[in-house]
């Protein structure tokens, strides 16, 4: 694994991260031996279906796990500092100040009984970013301008915002302390396409302007294709493919990635037959042995049922965790 992490241009290096949820039914292996990096100023996409561990990775990075979520091993290096080893009070200084998060359900991440301005000021005050009320007010106005919200919305309550405006307010909150890394978890999923298009472009502009890095989590590969520099594909708690967006889309190496791409409808180009992936993602209480994709994989061999494939570089920083990667790309136009 050390090949991916050979130099220091990375803002974030995640190594062999493993996280389990303990439940009455047993241990759920939600994040299993996941490694990836985020460069400065880049947008790294995490794609996969529900339950594949995308959000669990995000919560682990911020150590915002519920009580039954336990980090079993691995490292999260932020500029060389291992977040896994930090105590909660040290972690609190990292959260929002260095890494912040945009949650999917904007309505749920805003407190309905407080004005939006008060909620952002709270974060600013906690991190000693502002000393006086006037200063806070000035920062708020700057933030609202930045995300394209009218200043008159500052003293309104969340229910007075539309869906798109709420998501902007949540973005403003995430940017309040100038973080190095923003984790955006399905930030536009609940929005209509036109609002989504708008917001995605503005997030891209903001990111360039502020020079921050971003982890963009989505189930929608079309959104990821438009937004991300590199992407990591997750399946059943594991990272199964990493590459530049172009590498992964033009030449998907993992059979799952290939299946996902061929199952995705598009409004452009000729109307091609959509592929169906047989079966359903596995139950992580009792994941299949060996490669977790083998029960659904058309290329699975006896070895796939026994050995976990390593994530390996097949050239140009295109990593795949599959022992039969080329077969998947044979049918790719």
């Amino acid at each position: 694994m050390d090949k991916i992490h050979s130099n220091h241009e990375y803002l974030l290096k995640v190594e062999n991260l493993t996280m389990h949820y303990t439940t009455r039914g047993g241990e759920v292996s939600a994040v299993d031996d996941v490694s990836f990096t985020v460069r400065r100023g880049e947008t790294m996409g995490l794609v996969g279906e529900s339950g594949c561990g995308k959000t669990s990775v995000a919560l682990t990075l911020l150590k915002l796990l519920p009580e039954n979520g336990i980090i079993k091993g691995g490292h999260i290096y932020l500029d060389g500092m291992d977040l896994v080893k930090l105590k909660e009070d040290q972690m609190r200084r990292v959260r929002w100040d260095r890494i912040s998060m945009i949650f999917q359900a904007a309505m749920n991440s805003l407190n309905p009984v407080y004005k939006v301005s008060d909620q952002i000021v709270e974060a600013l005050e906690y991190h000693n970013e502002v000393r006086t009320n006037q200063e806070a007010r000035r920062r708020l106005k700057d933030l609202f301008t930045l995300v394209g919200l009218e200043h008159e919305m500052l003293d309104r309550y969340p229910h007075e915002y539309s869906g798109g405006m709420r998501q902007r307010a949540v973005i403003a909150m995430a940017l309040a302390c100038h973080p190095d890394l923003v984790i955006a978890d399905e930030p536009t999923t609940a929005l209509d396409v036109i609002v989504q298009d708008n917001l995605l472009h503005e997030m891209g502009d903001l990111q360039k302007k502020l020079g921050m890095s971003m982890i963009f989590i989505s189930h929608d590969i079309a959104v990821v294709a438009q937004v991300c520099d590199r992407i990591g594909v997750m399946y059943a708690g594991r990272m199964i493919e990493i590459g530049t967006t172009e590498q992964v889309f033009k030449r998907p190496l993992h059979p799952y990635t290939f299946g996902l791409m061929s199952a995705f409808p598009s409004i452009v180009g000729p109307k091609r037959e959509l592929a169906t992936l047989p079966g359903e993602p596995p139950n992580l209480l009792d994941p299949p042995a060996g490669c977790r994709f083998h029960p659904r994989c058309p290329f699975a061999t006896e070895d796939c049922k026994r050995f976990v494939p390593e994530l390996r570089d097949l050239g140009g920083g295109h990593f795949v965790a599959c022992d039969h990667p080329m077969e998947a790309s044979l049918g790719n136009p």
């Binding site: 396409v193 189930h219 079309a222 438009q226 299946g259 109307k271 359903e280 993602p281």
Partner: protein
């Protein structure tokens, strides 16, 4: 309710087509014909207080669906798609307008169906809902859920019903059917639940089904399976869909014709591929440009649209799209919302400027 003692074969009165909005009978009767359909919801109405304003959720729409030619209905949230669907299956009563559906060879006026005739209507027209986690009763087994329409319709005895349930479960891909019949919804995945919902809607062999975002809650790898299933069943069982979705790419695969709704109005309707290739309404063009393309090398033009969709509360008599439209001109403000006009054969658009900007 006299629904239980009505004779099973109540003949529907054959409704005559009235009004000049309907084109003369071409001898090719559509399965569904909607004329000037309106649904207004009162705002702030009370027992002794009359509503002063109304949400025009569906504001005078007309369209037809031919048998076997599923219609896709797309638009943003709040555009009136779901209200239209509910009106068509009579989960809502229209404020104005007509819905005619061919049932057993005669034409039924959906708004005028009497309670005693509802049972027969429900055998011909069914609905599939968006969320399979909400639409199935968690306390009932899959068998109970799927067999219920048969019991309501009085079809078959217990043994026959069990056979029919097993058959439809097999058809929707829940195999072996016997192992699924006595399970509960919580034991199934989202995709399997949606298959149960489809089985329940189709077990009475309806001719017309309103499917309201049936795949929007499902993951991509599971979604394609449900889309293929619905297309297969449409062919083998002869079902025609009104397929409601916000996802244009899904609509492309599920419907032969496509209607685009905006603030309670249909702004464009035509063959799906034609609408996608040659969108005529500025709103359709904006929508198409906003849809993300799963190809990183394709950089799209930005959609040319201003502001946000607003609620259609007491809309002024002018084009509903005027405040967001890059083409808005005097004619759009001076006249009421434009009527649908056929620009090329089968391709209709409601825009005063469509001809100028083609």
């Amino acid at each position: 309710m006299a629904i239980h003692d009505s004779p099973k074969d109540t003949p529907f009165e054959k409704n005559t087509i009235q009004g000049n909005m309907i084109s003369p009978d071409t001898g090719f009767e559509p399965l569904v014909r909607v004329v000037g359909l309106k649904k207004l919801f009162p705002l702030n109405a009370g027992l002794f207080r009359e509503a002063k304003s109304y949400v025009h959720a569906v504001d005078g729409i007309s369209f037809t669906i031919q048998e076997g030619e599923s219609l896709g209905l797309v638009g943003e949230s709040g555009s009136g798609k779901t209200t239209t669907g509910k009106l068509l299956v009579r989960l809502l009563d229209p404020t104005e307008g007509q819905i005619q559906i061919v049932m057993n060879g005669s034409i039924a006026d959906v708004a005028k169906i009497r309670p005693a005739e509802m049972k027969m209507f429900r055998q011909s027209v069914q609905m599939i809902f968006q969320d399979p986690y909400e639409s199935l009763n968690p306390r009932r087994t899959i068998y109970d859920t799927v067999a219920e329409p048969l019991a309501v319709q009085g079809i078959g005895n217990i043994a026959e019903r069990e056979y029919m349930v097993a058959e439809i479960l097999t058809r929707v891909g829940l195999i072996p059917a016997k192992s699924f019949m006595f399970r509960f919804p919580h034991e199934l995945s989202g995709g399997q639940r949606q298959r149960v919902a489809i089985a329940r809607a189709l077990i009475v062999l309806p001719t017309f089904v309103v499917a309201d975002e049936p795949t929007s809650m499902l993951d991509v790898s599971v979604r394609t399976g449900i889309m293929h299933l619905m297309l297969d069943l449409s062919e083998t069982l002869g079902v025609t869909y009104l397929y409601i979705t916000h996802d244009l790419a899904v609509a492309r695969y599920m419907s032969k014709r496509l209607a685009v709704m905006y603030r309670g109005k249909i702004v464009e309707i035509g063959e799906t591929e034609e609408v996608l290739a040659n969108p005529l309404h500025p709103y359709t063009r904006a929508l198409l440009k906003a849809v993300p393309i799963p190809d990183p090398t394709m950089k799209q033009e930005r959609p040319d649209i201003k502001g946000n969709i607003s609620k259609p509360i007491d809309p002024e008599p002018r084009c509903r799209y005027i405040d967001r439209c890059p083409l808005a001109a005097e004619v759009c403000a001076a006249n009421d919302h434009p009527p649908l006009e056929e620009i090329t054969p089968g391709h209709w658009v409601a825009c005063y400027r469509a001809e100028d900007t083609r």
